[in-house]
Amino acid sequence: MRHFFFALLMLCLSLAAHAALDPAAVRQLAAEESDDKIAAIQKLALTAEPDALALLQQLADGTLKDENGEDITINNRVRRELDGALAVLKLIDPDTKVRYKAVKEIATNVDAGMAPMLARARDRETEPKIRALLIEVHALATLKDADPQIRLAAAKALATSADPNTKALLKAQSEPANETEVDVRRAAFQSYLAVKDRLTLAETLGRIFSGLSLGSILLLAALGLAITYGVMGVINMAHGELLMIGAYATYGMQGLFRAHFPAHEDWYLLAAVPVAFFAAAAVGILLERTVIRWLYGRALETLLATWGLSLMLIQAARVIFGAQNVEVANPEWMSGGLEILPSIVLPLNRIVIVGFALFVLVLVWVLMNRTRLGMFVRAVTQNRGMAGCVGVPTGRIDTVAFALGAGIAGLGGVALSQIANVGPDMGQGYIVDSFMVVVLGGVGQLAGAVWAALGLGIVTKFIESWAGAVIAKIVVLVFIIMFIQKRPQGLFALKGRFVES
């Protein structure tokens, strides 16, 4: 075995020699002293040759032997150096994805010694996106160069960066204490301003997006309520538990796919959408038929009874699924993110949820405004007696409308399962938020709920950025309480003598 590896090494070395690797440097990898090893690694890395990469990778993997067939051991200091060198050498990998990843990695830990090699990689690079990054990283590596001209070029080149660390470096470079040349200081300062502006914009965009994403979640949680409370006037405190049912339905589908269609596991989520809708709707029908039906027009009693129902549903979930949270995984096609700027990555699952919220919204709008069912529901809520007289089956419409609201809540649960913990208590956290959205938007106003949800999402995220999550939540709740003092009918108010305040 030993001989085999030795032969392999010799083969490598001979190959390396052909590819213009300095044999002395290769031999020096086996030196006793760590300092010598490091020097050799650096020398090899500088070649930016694919063979050097292969050789150093072997060293890192511990498969490289010296001439006597002994393992070449490395300590942590050498390993650190080796990792840096490997990253640098990956810059010449033929795969653009590997190169891109490598340059991102180097950007976080750039070192002045890498400058020549980065310059070489930059000059070889043909992919514009990676080349731009390499220019930036090279500039970072040469920002402290002894030659003022190089520093000047580096400071200018960094104007295109969108990295907070670069911003800090440029700021430091623009100060007389760190930089003697006034030209370099000026260039560094101008670049600093450019980076700062870019970062501020990116941060604002990022915050608006996370606000939108939170708003979509609030909207998904509240849309069902907008139907049951907003349109039908039923105070359903078990609404959060209907979300929970939707989330558990998603969990169930995940299990089903894992057990029976492991090849298509990633598509369990699509299957969960109708299942969650009908599961929640079925529970909704049960609640409406057994309890809520007898309490129409008695809002406070409905509130208490549905609270009782919510407690029973929570306990049922505990008995069936256990008190612990269950794990629902994002499908592969929903993980990862979309990078719009180096400093902001939009998680795919959030983007999907924003889209899903839009889909559910359109669904609800079409159902309420473009179908016979929607017309009946609106007729019954506006004038029950009259609707009954013209032949609308009011009792059945109540049930169907409630089931619809419950089903929409189930859809909300599907979305929540992708970003939040799924457990028996999960619904309780959303009930106050959902009511706030509906109340703020104006009862019975679908458009109001949309604006309220998005507005609340974005405002919450902006307050969060300077006050933290808990304070943001409190501020928002206090704001809503005060807003309702001013406009008890919500953002989109009905007016006129038919409104009993």
Partner: protein
């Protein structure tokens, strides 16, 4: 007639049977139970254990809250889902004093409460000023919950927020307060709240005499609340409250300003809750933000509904029924408690709108008719 002294009218509001019941209750809670706890040896079958005293004392605190809730919900028709806030505020106000009474006996042997040492605070925050004074703490117990209620109620009632809207907003209030108290930086012990109390006025909090004293104070407070409540609901003030419940706009058009009426009863209700909270904390030995959870506040409503709305004595019964059942279930069948409680909400609203008192009246009337 108009010369009848106020005190006579006040006491006369409670009918004779009421006074007999109060006398019996007072005899049991102020004399009999304390005596059986203190004087009868633990080996005797007549001995009342510390567990029972604490449990009944705790439920009597809840009963005060239930009566306070009955005044605002049963008699005025305003369902508050945030009464837990006032209860907890009263508890925290007195809890601050209890924390200061620990002195240097805490785990860190510091003058500061343990949680502040743990957070590496060097001095008490400004709002803890005076918390070592018993009287100042009593003042806080009376003023803080009432003031919060007054300010909140003023804005809510002035903008004519009613019915379910009001309920939901009070729920948001208690939710926000709970989040606020959960923060460590708020200065009330965060998650864990206050606990490990040692003394009141220098006397050990675990001594049987102290236990009995707190118990008797709670009982007296409960009976006093009932007498006060009876006077209020039989006075003209109480009739205006009932009128507001039935048709608020009509009340305005005959010249009453409902704002003042609602604000008074709302603030009084909060004040009673605060006192109940202050009595509760030394008896159970802990107060934490969980008391402000929306679920806790809504449970108060079910005590009132089970006993019977607008009956005063009903809510006391309801508090006992529900909480005794809770004590029983959580020991015997913990997994069924939420099913039971949930079913109770449904059953009472669907079939027992007037609670057990209403049921009893109905049965009695049937009996008379038959």
């Amino acid at each position: 007639m108009s010369r009848t002294p106020f005190i006579v009218r006040f006491l006369g509001a409670t009918p004779k049977q009421g006074w007999i019941a109060i006398a019996i209750a007072a005899a049991i809670t102020l004399v009999l139970l304390p005596a059986l706890h203190l004087l009868v040896p633990a080996s005797s079958p007549f001995h009342v254990s510390a567990y029972v005293i604490t449990l009944v004392g705790k439920i009597m605190c809840y009963a005060i809250v239930a009566v306070a809730m009955d005044l605002i919900w049963g008699y005025t028709g305003i369902l508050s889902l945030g009464h837990g806030v006032f209860f907890a505020l009263g508890g925290y106000a007195f809890g601050m004093y209890l924390m200061r009474q620990i002195g240097r006996d805490g785990s860190y042997q510091s003058d500061l409460p343990d949680f502040m040492v743990f957070l590496d605070w060097k001095a008490l925050p400004w709002y803890w000023t005076g918390s070592d004074s018993f009287l100042w703490s009593l003042l806080l117990v009376l003023v803080v919950p009432a003031l919060v209620a007054l300010v909140f109620g003023f804005f809510a009632f002035r903008s004519r927020i009613k019915g379910v809207y009001f309920s939901i907003i009070t729920q948001a209030l208690t939710f926000a307060a709970m989040l606020f108290f959960f923060r460590n930086e708020t200065g009330f012990g965060g998650n864990n709240g206050f606990t490990d109390f040692k003394r009141i006025l220098g006397h050990s909090i675990t001594a049987p005499e102290m236990r009995v004293t707190l118990f008797a104070l709670t009982a007296a407070m409960l009976l006093g609340t009932l007498v006060l409540g009876r006077y209020l609901v039989t006075s003209k003030f109480g009739r205006v409250l009932a009128a507001i419940r039935d048709a608020e706009s009509r009340v305005m058009f005959i010249g009453y300003n409902p704002l003042h009426y609602k604000l008074f009863i709302w603030t009084l209700s909060a004040l009673l809750c605060g006192i109940a909270g202050a009595l509760y904390v030394p008896q159970v030995g802990i107060i934490n933000p969980g008391e402000m959870s929306p679920a806790n506040s809504i449970e108060i409503a079910i005590w009132v509904a089970v006993g019977g709305r607008a009956t005063l004595v009903g809510p006391v019964l309801g508090a006992f029924i529900v909480n005794l059942a809770k004590s029983f279930f959580t020991v015997a069948f913990p997994e069924y408690w939420l099913f039971f409680l949930g079913a109770l909400f449904v059953v009472v609203t669907l079939w027992l709108p007037d609670g057990v008192v209403g049921l009893w009246r109905k049965l009695r009337n049937k009996g008379v008719a038959a």
